[in-house]
Structures are given as C-alpha cells and as structure tokens.
C-alpha cells in the first residue's frame, strides 16, 4: 500500500496499462512534455516515447476521430479531454461513431477507447471548466460511463476501462485530484470489483444516499454529520453511471426505505432522475417516501464566486435527507 494523490493514482494505472499492452496509446492536448494541465500523465511520454504518449494538435474532433481509426487498426487509445467543457467538439465522433460502430458492424469492429474527462466544479475556474456532462453520454447506447471517487478506484478502474472492449468514458473529479489515499498497486484489475459495480461506502439503516465522483466525499461527510444527530445514512458510490448497478442500490433501499440521490449536474434529465425512476419501479412497495434529488440547478455552470451555491454541499444534502425522513426541512409545508 502506498499513499498517493488521486492524480498520481491514475498516472500509475496508466503506466501499468502502457507497460502491459503495447497497443495502448495515450493521446491528447499537452499530455506529453507538460504531463497534462493536471499532470495526470506526468513523465509518461519520457518513459514510453512520443509514439505511445502523443501530444496532439488542438482539435478534439480529430483526437476522437483518429482514435476511432486507431481502434479499427487494433489499438486501444486512451484520450484525454483537457476539461469537461471541451468535449463538445468531439461529441459527434463519440456519439455517432465511437458508441455505434460495434453495433453497426454487428460486432466485427471493436472500439476499446477510453475517454478521460476531468469534470465537475469547485476549483474556481472560468466558464467551460467545471461542467458535468455525463448525462449526454449515459443517454447514448454503446458507451460505458464511469466515475471514480477515491485514489484506489481511480487506479484500478482506469486499467479496467482500458481493458474493456467497449468504449468507456472515465470521468475524473478534478477537485479531488490532490486528495490522498491508500493505493494498492498490486491489485489485479481483472479480479478486482468490476467497474460496473456500485459500492456501499458507509453502511446505514435510515436513508440510502447515492452519489458518484466528487460528491462521494461530500456524501460521506454528510453521513458522519448525520450520525451525530442519530440518523444512519447508507452511502453508495455508484462508480458506474452507465449501466447503473441497480441491484446494489435496490438492496440498500429495500433496507432503508428512503432514497436521496445527489450529483453536481443539473437536475432535469439528469442521472438522478434515472436512478429515482428505476428505483421507484423496482422498490415501490419498499419506499416510505418519494426519492429526493439534491443536484446542481438547471443553469449554466455559474461564475466562481457563486459556484458553491450551485454545487450540492453537505447542508443541502442533509436538508434532502431530512425531506426523505419527513423531518423539518426547508420545504416543509410545501406540496410536492
């Protein structure tokens, strides 16, 4: 076990993948000499060369489109999108090509492409640098979407994503890059918990609180704070956003009878809606109250002075927990 930051843990996972498979190739803007704007790829070009770790021209559609060509040729490209808001020039290649080629060719062509996206807010950046675009991709069939919340998962899941024969969007919570944690680099990604499984982070009996990526830490903190008030929260880290591991969430809700889902992305049409609806379908008779969503608002990501109002913080999550429990809360007395 080694203490390392989130960013370092991804770096180490990428390094293992590069070592284990000569077909793995990293591509992106500034990932070589600079080591990426977040230094996630630091040192990799030096050790693996410019053919394995490629600084590309500034063109996201081209990065993604050439990754498709490389995949046709048997490579396993790992592309870095510099910031969440810059994925849109590549959107067409991702949803029209990367996602659909396996289906269109009846399985003849595989697209084992991993798309690394630093996402989410809370770092005081200008516009287009703090977005949570995951729902666009969870809505697209053919893509797998994951988001990691701690260094160990970051390390293991990046390797699983690269090993997967399907295209995987790997959302990295950029505000957690510097968080440290224990990482066992010896864990075999093939036998570790599969990347499409959710994980119970904190066990509890009163409310199920579902989170992923940057908000898992906030959810854990909320559970700790709630425990002081005698409320027992079970925190689930979804890890996989498409497909969602409903079995794990379902088992928890059957136990607690209450569901709160939280994410930074806007509410309408977001993943919280999907989880709430699916759990309602599956556990209707076990639910004591309607599921509660604590999310970002349906607004463009706001300027940094106000971003903490948009992002679900501990208090907003606890307010949602109060709603689920029928305790006094900010919406007490309101219908619906």
């Amino acid at each position: 076990m080694t203490q390392m930051t989130f960013a370092r843990a991804i770096n180490s996972g990428l390094r293992k993948s590069l070592e284990n498979d000569p077909k793995v190739i990293l591509m992106g803007e500034d990932i070589g000499t600079l080591g990426g704007v977040f230094r996630v790829t630091d040192g990799l070009q030096k050790d693996f060369g410019t053919h394995r770790v490629v600084d590309t021209p500034l063109a996201e559609s081209a990065i993604m489109g050439t990754a498709v060509g490389l995949a046709y040729r048997g490579y396993r490209p790992v592309v870095e999108i510099q910031f969440d808001g810059f994925i849109y020039p590549a959107f067409d290649q991702i949803v029209s090509q990367v996602a659909k080629l396996h289906y269109r060719t009846q399985g003849a062509v595989k697209m084992p492409i991993t798309i690394r996206v630093p996402f989410g807010g809370g770092i005081g950046s200008p516009e287009h640098h703090s977005e949570s675009p995951e729902a666009y991709f969870t809505h697209t069939s053919g893509l797998r979407v994951v988001s990691v919340s701690n260094p160990q998962d970051a390390h293991t899941v990046i390797q699983q994503a690269i090993l997967s024969d399907d295209p995987v969007l790997y959302f990295e919570p950029k505000r957690r890059y510097h968080d440290k944690g224990e990482v066992d680099e010896g864990i075999d990604p093939r036998t570790a918990l599969p990347m499409d499984s959710a994980r119970v982070v904190t066990e509890g009996t009163d409310v199920t609180l579902v989170a992923y990526g940057p908000l898992v830490k906030t959810a854990k903190d909320a559970a700790t704070a709630a425990a002081d008030e005698g409320i027992s929260i079970e925190v689930i880290d979804l890890r996989s956003l498409a497909p969602v591991d409903y079995a794990t969430v379902e088992a928890s809700v059957r136990k607690t009878g209450r569901l709160v889902v939280t994410h930074e992305a806007g509410q309408s049409g977001g993943l919280g809606a999907e989880v709430a609806a699916s759990i309602t379908e599956r556990c209707f008779y076990h639910l004591e109250t309607a599921p509660v969503r604590i999310t970002g608002f349906d607004i463009p990501y706001p300027y940094s002075k106000l971003e903490m109002h948009h992002l679900p913080g501990l208090d907003r999550i606890l307010d949602g927990v109060d709603r689920a429990l029928g305790r006094p809360n900010s919406l007490s007395g309101l219908e619906g």
Binding site: L58, E60, H128, D221, A222
Partner: protein
C-alpha cells in the same frame, strides 16, 4: 513544405523605420503624435497586464491570461478598427478590449469570477471573450454575412491563436467566409505556443499559408511591429469594406509569459527562445524609434508613465471594489422568458437559504449544522 514567406515589417527590432512601398501608404497618416500615442497604448496595456497578474497572485483574480509580448499585435490591429466594426476575440485580447473602450473594471470581472461576461457586447462592439478555442471565428463569419446582407460596410474581425487553426471550427469558418466572400478579417496571433505545444505541432506550413488553401488571401506580418500590424489590418479591413471578402492575417509574435497564471512554461520551453524574443520586444522597439526621431522627451515619458500608473490604479480599485454577486443571481438570465422547471428550483433554493435565517445560507462543503 514551408514557403517561408517574409514578414511585413516597417520598424526593425532596433527601432529603425524601413520603407515598404506596398504598406507605407497605409500608415502615412501616422505622424509623431500618433506614434507617441501608440507608444502610450502599448505601455498602458502592458501595465494593465502586469497589474492584473499581480491581482491574481494576491488572490483577487482567480486566473489571468497574460498578453506580455503581444501588445503590438493587439494595439496595431485594435487601433485600425472603426467603431462600427465588430470584434470576436479569444480570452487573451485584453489589449484589443482596451482599444475598443471596454471599461477597465469590466475587463477583470470574468477573471474575478463575479460574472460570465464582463460587458455588454453591443456597448463596445466586441463580443464576450471566447474560451472554447476557435468557436468565435464562426461567429465572426456569421456576423459578417449579416453585414453583407444589410449592405453595410463594417467588418467583423476575429482573433485567435496559432493552436486554434487546428480546430474544425476555424477551418469551417474559413470555408464559409470564402464561399460567401464575407467581410471578415481572421487575425491569428501566432505567439508560437498553445499552452505547451509549439506551433510546429499545429502546422507543417506557415500559418498564413493555411488560408490560401481555402481561397483566402493572407498576410504575414511582424506582430511585434505595431506599425506593420496596423498597415496589414488596414489593408484587410479596406478589402472587406469594398467587397473584397475575407483576409487572413498571421501576426508573428511571442507569448513571453505563461499561458495563464496557472501555467509553468519552464516545463516545456527553452529559456534561450524567450531571450531571443525579448530582443524583439514590441515596446522597446517603438521606444527606440521614438528615440531615433528625438520624440522620447522627458515630458512624453512622464505622461505615458502617469497614464499607465493611473490606469493600473483604476483597474486595481475597480477590481477590488467590485461587489460580490447575490446568491440568487445564479438563476438570472438563463432564459429570457419564464421557465417553470427553473422557477421551481429557484423558489426551493430561496426557501433553503431562508431556512438558515441568513441570506448567504450555508455554502461550504463542511456545512453549518
């Protein structure tokens, strides 16, 4: 491979005015007074940049993209524009914004994080700066198509970097501009770097030659020579005003500072390269020219210095004195007409904030309970 086109230059790095029969006529109105005024602009813009960088280091701005070294490209072109021309720029054209008359406090607004747009674009005929690389070139082309339809003789001008020329948007903008012969000027500030990536990674030929392939005439100008940039921009504007369609200008310059205050250029850039370019500094050059002409009097120096200092004070006090936005402001202007989903969220959030009995509510991650 590269056609190695020579730079249009009117003033050498040593400050010597050299003649250029084709471009001299375009700046023949620039007399002693105007030269001093250009020197003032360059100095003021550098001072703004230094002050904003300091404000960022002091935690007053979240981020700042310095333009150190690119002053002449911005002033030479910015001062060539007419008020009714319309600018679509990237995030680095604060010097152009100054030339357009943008309020100095407004320049810092976005970087302080109190607004998404620092000014009303129509008040200065300059769009809100673009962060998505290259997107603004399409907007300029569309705006130019509008000018064309209206039968007006104004011009849309778009600024972008060398890296931006790799993006699809910029290439598509050139296709449209050429196809419709739109009155648009593509102004590429080739500052040699796109964050850590050198210009040679973006283009195998000189950037100016890219436009030729789209059927757009191009000029390659010494971007550290304010007079030459002005002349080239005037040529391009004149062509556009008179139905000659788009022109592409490559201003060859150098980003002497970091990409943004978050960047560390020592990781990817050779110090010698910086030294070479420091010798071509756009301000030293015009200063030397003024000196040769005997125009750099104590009086001029004092005036320019005072002006720069007062602008710096103004930007500092404007920035620091900017009130923080109100929490509920985040819901403003998402739509121009009511939206029931958002109305509900806004109402709920207002109730949430009120539940703390404190309008600021609890907004930290740690929480207040």
């Amino acid at each position: 491979m590269s056609t190695d086109r020579n730079l249009i230059q009117l003033v050498t790095p040593a400050g010597e005015r050299i003649s250029h029969p084709e471009f001299d006529p375009w700046v023949k109105d620039i007399g002693d007074e105007q030269l001093c005024s250009l020197y003032e602009d360059l100095t003021v813009i550098r001072r703004i940049d230094v002050e904003a960088t300091a404000l960022q280091r002091q935690g007053e701005l979240g981020l700042w993209p310095p333009l150190l070294g690119q002053e002449a490209a911005q002033v030479g072109s910015g001062r060539a524009l007419r008020d009714d021309d319309f600018v679509f720029s990237s995030y680095r054209e604060n010097g152009v914004a100054y030339c357009r008359g943008v309020d100095l406090t407004d320049i810092t607004r976005v970087w302080r994080g109190t607004a998404s747009s620092g000014w009303d674009p129509y008040s200065v005929n300059m769009a809100t700066p673009q962060i998505i690389i290259g997107a603004q070139t399409l907007h300029a082309t569309g705006y130019a198509m509008g000018i064309q339809n209206d039968g007006a003789d104004s011009v849309a001008v778009t600024y972008f970097g060398d890296g931006a020329t790799s993006e699809g948007d910029v290439n598509e903008a050139m296709v449209f501009a050429a196809s419709f012969q739109a009155p648009v000027v593509f102004f590429c500030s080739n500052n040699h770097w796109a964050i850590s990536e050198p210009v040679r990674l973006q283009s195998h030929i000189q950037i100016a030659d890219r436009a030729t392939g789209f059927g757009i005439p191009s000029l390659r100008v010494d971007g550290n020579d304010v007079l030459a940039v002005m002349a080239a921009t005037r040529v391009a504007l004149d062509r556009a005003r008179h139905g000659g369609g788009p022109t592409f200008i490559e201003a060859v310059t150098y980003r002497m500072g970091p990409h943004t205050t978050a960047d560390d250029p020592t990781r990817y850039r050779d110090a010698n390269e910086l030294e070479d370019w420091a010798a071509k500094d756009p301000i030293l050059r015009i200063k030397a020219l003024l000196e040769r002409k005997g125009l750099l009097t104590d009086q001029v120096q004092q005036h320019v210095h005072d002006k720069a200092e007062s602008v710096a004070r103004e930007i500092r006090s404007g920035c620091i004195g900017m009130p923080d936005p109100e929490p509920m402001d985040i819901f403003k202007h998402v739509y121009s007409e009511p939206n029931s989903w958002l109305d509900r969220q806004q109402d709920h959030y207002a109730r949430y904030l009120a539940s703390f009995g404190d309008p600021a509510g609890a907004t930290s991650e740690e929480g207040a309970r």
